[in-house]
């Protein structure tokens, strides 16, 4: 993990209230795994005492760039979105443990993402695809306006889309698609709201897989105990999401 002022080189609204931002910086040369995140300083002075964790959605080592995708939720993300190309953002990264792409051996990976849980899965899909692993992506969004990266995913493998209101893809949840399609895969990888993570890991409890979870963070580096999650089988009984996660083996941690 390093500390760097990353220069914004592009900023684009890619869906409703959803911003894609690309930075240039030495950090792109680190060995970044999908699922790792940036811990971003927001605004100036003491308006925001806590940094914002945002997943890394793409890395281009050649161009030395890192891409993130975030949703305008509260004050922090709205302030972030006001930063312009040419501005510098104070970032810690890559933070946490990502999906162990280098160690994974398999033929077919099922990726299941909801809302802004989708971005890290895009970087994961790219890395798996590079390794020759077949990728099937199931994405869930609230509605059509929220959907992003559909074409990008399609170029890497199969893509299924569900929206809560049926305005794009199937009407329903990602779990409906998984049930209906009965995919034959080796391991699953899921990231999204806690409710979805719970539903997916219950549905796929007989399968091997990884989940990526989020929690409000303080330090983002493992020092403050803000972001723990129970891990009954571990020595300490818990894991820190910012340091031991955000990616865990599906059965390693207990979702609240």
């Amino acid at each position: 993990m390093i500390h760097e002022h990353l220069e914004i080189i592009s900023r684009e609204t890619i869906a409703k209230d959803t911003v894609e931002m690309t930075f240039k910086g030495k950090m792109a040369q680190e060995n970044i795994l999908p699922g790792q995140f940036l811990h971003l300083l927001v605004g100036e002075g003491s308006n925001h005492m806590l940094r914002r964790p945002i997943s890394i959605a793409g890395v281009d080592k050649q161009k030395s760039t890192i891409t993130i995708i975030f949703k305008l939720l509260g004050e922090g993300t709205n302030t972030l979105a006001k930063a312009e190309p040419g501005d510098q953002l104070d970032a810690l990264g890559p933070c946490g443990q990502g999906y162990p792409v280098d160690e994974l051996q398999m033929n077919h990976a099922l990726l299941v993402g909801g809302g802004i849980g989708v971005p890290p899965l895009y970087y994961l899909a790219q890395r798996l695809h590079e390794k020759g692993i077949q990728v099937t992506m199931v994405a869930g969004f609230q509605n059509k306006e929220q959907v992003f990266y559909e074409g990008a995913f399609r170029s890497l493998g199969d893509y299924y889309l569900a929206t809560d209101d049926g305005s794009a893809g199937e009407k329903g949840f990602v779990t409906d698609i998984i049930k209906k399609e009965g995919f034959d895969f080796d391991q699953f990888f899921t990231c999204g709201p806690t409710g979805m993570l719970k539903a997916v890991s219950t549905q796929l409890e007989d399968e091997e897989g990884f989940i990526s979870i989020e929690q409000r963070m303080g330090c983002g580096i493992g020092a403050c105990f803000a972001c723990v999650v129970p891990a009954p089988d571990s020595e300490s009984g818990y894991k820190k999401i910012c340091k031991d996660g955000p990616v865990f083996r599906a059965k390693e941690v207990v979702l609240a």
Binding site: M1, M49, R51
Partner: protein
């Protein structure tokens, strides 16, 4: 410039130390900068046995501050001694053990054990934890209890004891007086103010614990007021804290009467903040006419008349 400061048990290169709970046991920040730069390090609270702490969410952001309700999560004093202190032994920086508990016996047990470890140069007795034996009364808000636990810990501790005071009291000087009578070697203040944030969408308190502790720049005026008040009633050395983010803030605490200054929440915003403050401190001290840290301590109490100047 001479930034040295000597306090009971603590021979500090400079007056800056991370505040308890905001720096873990040092390992994570050691990856960012050399911990030998620091004047001292206060480690996360230790209790008798391991505690999981409160449910999540445990932190919330507020205007110029944050709320936390970690709930004293820690691996317990034995594990800390076994797994955490050896790493810190590699540094030439005094370590302060923050000691917490639910009963006098627990405080005593933890203090006895941890004060025997050679890296521990002082104890910070954290008397502001919410659940204690005596029917909900808090050690930090009842002067009798405060005095009693201080005396009990003093008896078993091999190192000087700084008592960390809670700001959530009608008159903090009463508590300060009580722990002084209990034999405290120094005071540490302030711990967090109790606060709450309500999640509008969730229609309930954002923190799982509902109530949390408010820290950060928002509370600095309260902290400065308390350090100033206490400096006027006792000569015990004070470790001041609450909202420090810059070397100027450090000077403000020194003027108010603190001899050392701890930095908590700011570490989350700027992980290098302690090292940056230490770097800037000499310039700030000399800008305001001081030739050493020692020189500035308590100087905010000598009131010469000054005017707002326009020039």
């Amino acid at each position: 410039m001479n930034l040295n400061i000597k306090l009971p048990g603590l021979d500090m290169k400079n007056p800056i130390l991370p505040a308890s709970g905001c720096f873990g046991f040092g390992k994570e920040y050691a990856e960012l900068y050399d911990l030998n730069l620091l004047g001292a390090i206060t480690i996360k609270a230790a209790t008798g046995s391991a505690r999981y702490g409160n449910a999540t969410p445990r932190v919330a952001e507020t205007s110029a501050g944050m709320l936390n309700a970690i709930g004293l999560q820690n691996p317990g004093v034995d594990q800390i001694i076994e797994n955490e202190l050896p790493f810190l032994a590699g540094y030439d920086t005094p370590i302060i053990a923050n000691v917490a508990g639910s009963t006098v016996e627990e405080y005593v047990e933890v203090a006895r054990k941890i004060s025997k470890h050679p890296v521990i140069k002082a104890i910070e007795l954290n008397i502001s934890c919410p659940n204690v034996k005596e029917g909900g009364v808090q050690f930090g808000t009842d002067p009798e209890l405060a005095k009693m636990v201080t005396a009990a810990v003093k008896e078993v501790s091999d190192v000087p004891v700084y008592v960390k005071l809670s700001p959530n009291v009608t008159d903090i000087t009463v508590i300060a007086r009580a722990v002084e009578e209990g034999g405290a070697d120094g005071l540490s203040l302030i711990n967090t103010l109790t606060g709450m944030q309500i999640n509008l969408a969730g229609r309930k308190p954002l923190l799982a614990n509902k109530i949390g502790g408010l820290s950060g720049p928002a509370v600095k005026p309260v902290a400065i007021r308390m350090v100033y008040q206490i400096r006027q009633m006792t000569n015990l050395p004070i470790i001041g804290m609450g909202g420090v983010t810059t070397a100027e803030d450090v000077l403000e605490f020194l003027l108010a009467g603190a001899s050392a200054v701890a930095v908590g929440t700011a570490n989350f915003q700027h992980p290098f903040v302690c090292s940056e403050i230490i770097q800037n401190l000499p310039d700030v001290l000399s800008k305001y006419g001081f030739s050493s840290v020692e020189d500035a301590i308590g100087k905010g109490h000598e009131h010469a008349d000054t005017n707002l100047s326009r020039a």
